[in-house]
Symmetry: C2
Subunit: 402 residues, 2 copies
Amino acid sequence: MSSGALENLVVLDLTRVLAGPYCTMLLADMGAEVIKIEIPQGGDDTRAYPPFRKNRDGEQESLYFANINRNKKGITLNLKSEEGKEIFRRLVKKADIVVENYRPGVMDKLGLGYDALKEINPRLIYGSVSGFGNTGPYRLRPGYDILAQAMGGLMAITGAAGGPPTRVGSAIGDLLGGLHLTIGLLAAVNARNLTGVGQRVDISLMDAVIAATENTAIKYLESGTIPPRMGNRYAAVSPYDAFQVKDGKIIIAAGNQHLYEKLCTEILHRPDMITDPRFTDMPGRLKNQDAIQEVIESTLADKTMEEAVELVLSKGIPAGPIYDISQILQDPQVKEREMFVEMEHPTLGPITVNGCAVKLSETMPGVRTPAPALGQDDFEILHKYCGLAQEEVESLREQKVI
Amino acid sequence: MSSGALENLVVLDLTRVLAGPYCTMLLADMGAEVIKIEIPQGGDDTRAYPPFRKNRDGEQESLYFANINRNKKGITLNLKSEEGKEIFRRLVKKADIVVENYRPGVMDKLGLGYDALKEINPRLIYGSVSGFGNTGPYRLRPGYDILAQAMGGLMAITGAAGGPPTRVGSAIGDLLGGLHLTIGLLAAVNARNLTGVGQRVDISLMDAVIAATENTAIKYLESGTIPPRMGNRYAAVSPYDAFQVKDGKIIIAAGNQHLYEKLCTEILHRPDMITDPRFTDMPGRLKNQDAIQEVIESTLADKTMEEAVELVLSKGIPAGPIYDISQILQDPQVKEREMFVEMEHPTLGPITVNGCAVKLSETMPGVRTPAPALGQDDFEILHKYCGLAQEEVESLREQKVI
């Protein structure tokens, strides 16, 4: 098997910006035929998002779009026109999956909501991702990543102790939404093999972020105390933090009793800290983190980051550097794992895109084709799935249906 | 269909702590029969993780464990004993999926690595999640969430402008690993329907975090500048930030030209800011964020958070509060979406656990059964899948195999 774990799946992709396109990128990386459907005028908003590069036609072209839409085919379709709707319905008959990230209700208003589409194709799996999901009082509110991070509770637990709530530096709400949508779609594919019918997958960015706060609610409900921001520390484990050494900070994560004792004897040369009543168990170490930190930092004060990491690791204790992106790109592990891939783009030239973090031994996801130019596959797709001839496609273009 | 999208799948779950158990929680929530296999002495480490509650037997019992292991069955098995290995191999014959999060090589040393297990069951899908994955120079390094956050680049982009790299306040590296593992396993299930054979899914926490930095590498490679930490701001869009009002901060996300113009006319009453050359396009607004922030904050200075959110939302501009967990638990949207579920636990009594963020219309994931007591399903599972009689199970217990 070569072309991917999902090579049997045809996906109609109406998504724009990030959460939805991230999901369909994963599906495409794993071999699904993803047909990105864009509005004829301008297409996906992110075609106008930075970073840009002056392309071979001398125009500013988005690398943001190029990264997240590789491996997808691209067609244009005006879903507000009757002809556009009709073509979409014909595509739906042949598709396994429709994915969209419009605000709830938009597809229904177009007459293309799940209830209408499942009449055309009962095997269809219909996935949507929106700010707050398709049910509940906020369903029609506009949703953005930062709102999900704020209302989902991730900002409230991220940041320096005593400092303000802090947004995660990437659009993690969108990505979590896209990951949950991918899981829901693939689970629905499995269910369809059992029942013969499709279903609807409904993902909310806020839900996905709430899930990513893991046991914050359980801690609060049990203690009555709102878990505070605590910088790089973790409420359940200590020592487990960033520690200052000669030229910067490194991470040491002595996650259990065994690792703590090893740290005391082999790095700190302070076996007395094993039996010191302040530190004998995890609750004690959590309460007395500052004291442990002082000993660690004074012991490693004359070591560079590299030396300190090497020393601690050599004793089998988890440690590592805090990397910025330039260091990640140079790292031998990252290269071996192919987490960045160079490819040739027809107008941008050579570009680097993110690799896929899902590694499958027999059907390895890969970066095969560059992101589509607007409408580049109009003829191929409309011919393949709707049987249209070249003249018919041209006529649709003249009518601005595509 | 009622019991879930994955009701046909039998999962042998050797995972401990968070990344692996998060994956198998999702599989179990969606109806898979997840058989959690623990060491007979003490079981999963997280049975000793806080938060705790004094249970009906008067002992401290972990709510951490109870949250993340609901819906799973539990057996004990000593995989270091020959009898334990033999029972595991008999279970593998009947299983669809094995999941583990040992350090790479541990299962091979036990004679239970993927190469050995696929001989027993070629349809087996074998999933692993580890700090750095199963290949590359760091494969044998110990992995922890905080190391993945640090080495995967999420810490470097999270935090206040000018402040230190900041860990996301939950174990987001573990969760991202668990989500990617779930996607890989479900993709492999689809592939198995095409080919008849299983394969290996290999997830690295560091890879999963790198993927979650989205286009950080692309920005760096194109500009040569390492993307800085920028508090709650976002490099691609402005105004899109937390803004101070009378009694706290709220989020406003005017993500495109249309929303910006609406904000200027309907909230700020400053139509001149639309044509002001500093703010006419997104690059300009990104460069002059402080000036826009000043106007927004002075306009909303006399509004409470609730009033300000309501006002901005009423004009169709995305806005919302920054919630802590107590507010999330009270929120009507969160209740409607069932993101927290109350259940009865046999020893802990009534507890609240996280709901599932994957909403499937026909096979809704749900919380059905409490996390297992250590070894509670030994007889049921060993009888069902290995045909053992009660005496045989008792004899295994006496031999400390279970």
